[in-house]
């Protein structure tokens, strides 16, 4: 998950930059009531007023669901659910082996956890949305009669080629690796199962026209004199100076920043690499949080644990352009949170706590809140 917005929005509010008033009343005005069709559920992100954005990779769409879950959380709370995969399996009448949790996000209003779950591992698996409230009991979010809107993500049109031609069936699929809501746009990082490229779309919300997604490609030059394409794994919006940026972690682990204003159709964006976080490692999930008046990034990784990354002097950070050798760390300093083992997903719970999905002994998955480091 990626909590996008809350940090940025809080920052913008603190700076006196408020969202356009017109939006505040109209986030759900264009939604219709019914049952949104999902072929899959992937990355999740919360927007304003309890609106949950659900990425449907198989359906090549983003669905905005008005959850109605807008009652503010009250009082201090914590969350701990051991064997969340087994509990969900019981609820859905399946074995735990057939339950895949594809993303975790916390509703910033209610602090309820939402999980994108696949019941089954095959192509006919059933996607379901699960909510875990403070009592720790997972429940199915009924989507039979809900307010929603949908944005399709069509393939980019090809100049001078119209029609299907020899494409009787298209095996191409764009996996959505992360989504986030920022101000009035849904940002979507995607990766194709054919072309090796990273795309980032910015789609205005409320969704007005379904075909106006824009796509850009992002490059970074962290590798000596060569620059190369690489897929974005996870990203968060973050203010650098007064300028909203995206901080993106790539599949081969450099941390890269670029201004959000550069996300324009057809633009070439060259990111600035601000940290190398070590080799033999993949980033999994990232959030921004504040502690003691400073901003930090919290990044979960496959083999290098959870990193607490300082943003001190990030606005003046030098771009890393030389190969990093001998251990592979450079740029923004970070510390590894040694006690947090096996973290796959994380999202901020409240000002003091984060919720993580972590692997425990015997293959069980635990959902628990931990104090922000």
């Amino acid at each position: 998950m990626k909590r996008i917005t809350q940090n940025i929005l809080l920052t913008l509010l603190a700076l006196g930059v408020v969202l356009p008033a017109a939006h505040a009343a109209n986030w759900t005005a264009d939604m219709k009531e019914g049952k949104p069709a999902f072929k899959s559920m992937g990355p999740l992100a919360f927007g304003p007023e309890g609106i949950l954005f659900v990425a449907d990779t198989k359906g090549a769409a983003i669905v905005a669901v008005a959850t109605g879950d807008t009652t503010p959380a009250s009082g201090a709370a914590s969350l701990k659910v051991e064997g969340i995969n087994q509990k969900i399996a019981g609820l859905l009448g399946a074995s735990a082996d057939q339950i895949l949790i594809d993303d975790l996000v916390i509703n910033p209003l209610s602090r309820n956890a939402y999980l994108a779950v696949s019941r089954g591992r095959s192509s006919d698996a059933t996607p379901v949305l699960i909510r875990v409230k403070a009592d720790g009991q997972p429940e199915l979010v009924a989507l039979d009669k809900t307010r929603f809107s949908r944005a399709e993500l069509p393939d980019a049109p090809v100049d001078g080629v119209v029609g299907q031609g020899n494409r009787t069936s298209n095996p191409r699929q764009e996996s959505i690796t992360d989504i986030a809501f920022f101000q009035d746009r849904v940002l979507i990082a995607g990766m194709s199962n054919e072309e090796f490229a990273s795309t980032l779309r910015a789609i205005p919300f409320p969704f007005k026209t379904v075909a106006n997604g824009t796509s850009v490609e992002i490059y970074h030059g962290a590798h000596g004199k060569f620059e190369t394409r690489s897929p974005v794994r996870t990203f968060v919006p973050f203010n650098i100076g007064n300028e909203p940026h995206l901080l993106a972690a790539y599949t081969c682990t450099p941390l890269v920043q670029f201004p959000i204003k550069e996300l324009k159709p057809g633009a070439k964006i060259k990111g600035k690499t601000i940290a190398e976080l070590g080799n033999r490692n993949r980033p999994l999930d990232m959030i921004v949080y504040q502690k003691d008046g400073k901003d930090y990034l919290l990044l979960a990784n496959t083999s290098r644990g959870v990193m607490k990354i300082s943003t001190d002097r990030i606005e003046n950070a030098d771009s890393i352009t030389d190969p990093v050798t001998g251990g592979g760390k450079k740029g923004q300093p970070y510390e590894t949170i040694e006690a947090w083992k096996g973290v796959d997903q994380l999202d901020r719970f409240d000002q003091q706590n984060v919720v993580v999905l972590r692997r425990g002994e015997g293959g069980s998955l635990n959902l628990e809140s931990l104090p922000l480091p």
Binding site: K58, Q86, A89, G93, R121, S122, V161, S175, N193, P323
Partner: protein, 425 residues
């Protein structure tokens, strides 16, 4: 036989002892097993006809698994023996799910003591239909799993003084066939010599596969049998085609020689002059939950890197004759990406319209053929090639995979098209 918790077995035994037992084909062995002990009892439940297992009390209630009236492929739980008064109260109860579950809960057993403690009841709908209470699971039952319905008469309206205890009925969902049939049909690129900076493989399977922890089943070894550590880009989303018969496997860009950062520490995945084996192990399960029929290996040698973008102007086009459906053929000087070459190369007729037909690749992806669905028209045609076409190293038309910044090679971002004319005579 799966190992189940002693508490479950005891609960079942208690329930059956209270309720009495009734069944069809397995009625007799089950009665015998009661004498022998509860472990044998469970063994009999496993062996029961999955079509129906029933636990019927002496009086007045019984619980059974039965086909849904609306869909005989779905099974439901039926509670019989409710009084007219109780049925009427339930009909008017307007209960929430949690209240229904107090009366009738159905559990998908997880197979171990820890997991089954605190197991949540399955979701489903509750209805009063004529003379019975029916529970219909919201999701189809999973093959091979054991499901347990527990009915608590004392939770019925007006039955709080009922002393009979809970009644349960177990259903063993029939297992899928366990005969492995799915195989790896092909791995692309199909050539025996691949460039040192190879970007990806495509793994093709004969049937849909399953996702989750797939990379445990894919191994790259060198000629000495040593496993190459983390050579692939392991992506949680797993890059499948929609029907999950093709997986895209990218080499980690950090492990491609003369390239990104981790190289200095861990070395390239592939080096020219050496031989490697890409091995798929049979433990990988297909979409039906069966392992693959066989292991699969692709042995290949590695040659020099390829840093040159494909040059369509060097392709050799062999035109078909008009009035035939002979294939159009294009020969490439080097192999192209198997998936992209079939998707991003099109044929346009003299009017500029796309020609319908089927593309295929031959000769280790060095020859592209196109069979039209209608006869060729006489006149000038064009082959339209999207510049997103890649060779085996990920070089696009007019855009190498890596750009040397000092040489100032511009990048192109539009998905543009190169058109190659040919004449049909």
């Amino acid at each position: 036989m799966r190992i189940h918790s002693a508490s479950e077995i005891l609960e079942r035994q208690r329930a059956r002892q209270v309720a009495g037992l009734h069944g069809r084909r397995w009625c007799r062995p089950l009665q015998l097993s009661l004498v022998a002990g509860f472990v044998v009892l469970f063994s009999d439940v496993q062996a029961a006809d999955p079509a129906l297992t029933t636990s019927r009390p002496q009086q007045p209630f019984s619980v059974r698994w039965a086909s849904a009236p609306s869909d005989t492929n779905r099974v439901t739980v039926e509670v019989l023996g409710l009084s007219q008064a109780a049925l009427e109260k339930l009909r008017r109860a307007n209960w929430k799910t949690g209240q229904w579950q107090q009366v009738l809960s159905v559990y998908a057993e997880q197979g171990d003591l820890i997991a089954d403690v605190g197991l949540l009841p399955m979701l489903g709908s509750y209805r009063i239909q004529s003379e019975l209470l029916r529970f219909e699971p919201q999701f189809r039952l999973e093959p091979g799993l054991t499901y347990r319905a527990v009915f608590r008469p004392d939770q019925l309206p007006g039955q709080s003084d009922f002393r009979g205890g809970a009644i349960s009925a177990v259903y063993q969902a029939r297992s899928r066939a366990t005969n492995p049939t799915t195989v790896v049909t092909q791995i692309y690129p199909s050539a025996e010599v691949l460039p040192e900076n190879l970007l990806k493989f495509y793994l093709h399977f004969s049937a849909p596969m399953s996702r989750g922890r797939i990379y445990e089943h894919i191994h790259l070894r060198d000629e000495t049998g040593k496993v190459i550590e983390l050579p692939f880009l392991e992506i949680d989303e797993e890059l499948w085609n929609p029907d999950m018969t093709r997986l895209t496997l990218f080499i980690d860009p950090g492990r491609i020689k003369r390239e990104v950062r981790p190289l200095e520490d861990v070395g390239p995945a592939l080096e020219a002059g050496r031989q490697y084996t890409l091995a798929i192990d049979r433990a990988w399960k297909d979409g039906s939950g069966n392992a693959l029929k066989d292991d699969f290996q692709k042995v290949f040698k590695v040659g020099p890197p390829d840093r040159d973008p494909p040059e369509p102007e060097r392709w050799n086009i062999q035109s078909p004759k008009s009035g035939t459906r002979d294939p159009l053929s294009i020969t490439f000087p080097k192999p192209m990406d198997h998936a992209l070459a079939q998707r991003v190369i099109h044929v346009m007729d003299p009017d500029g319209r796309l020609v319908e037909g089927k593309a295929a690749l031959e000769n280790h992806e060095c020859r592209w053929t196109f069979a039209p669905t209608r006869n060729w028209r006489r006149g000038p045609h064009k082959v339209a090639v999207q510049t997103t076409l890649e060779d085996l190293a990920g070089n696009n038309i007019g855009k190498p995979f890596e750009v040397d910044l000092f040489e100032g090679v511009p990048r192109r971002f539009t998905n543009s098209v190169v058109k190659l004319p040919f004449a049909v005579r």
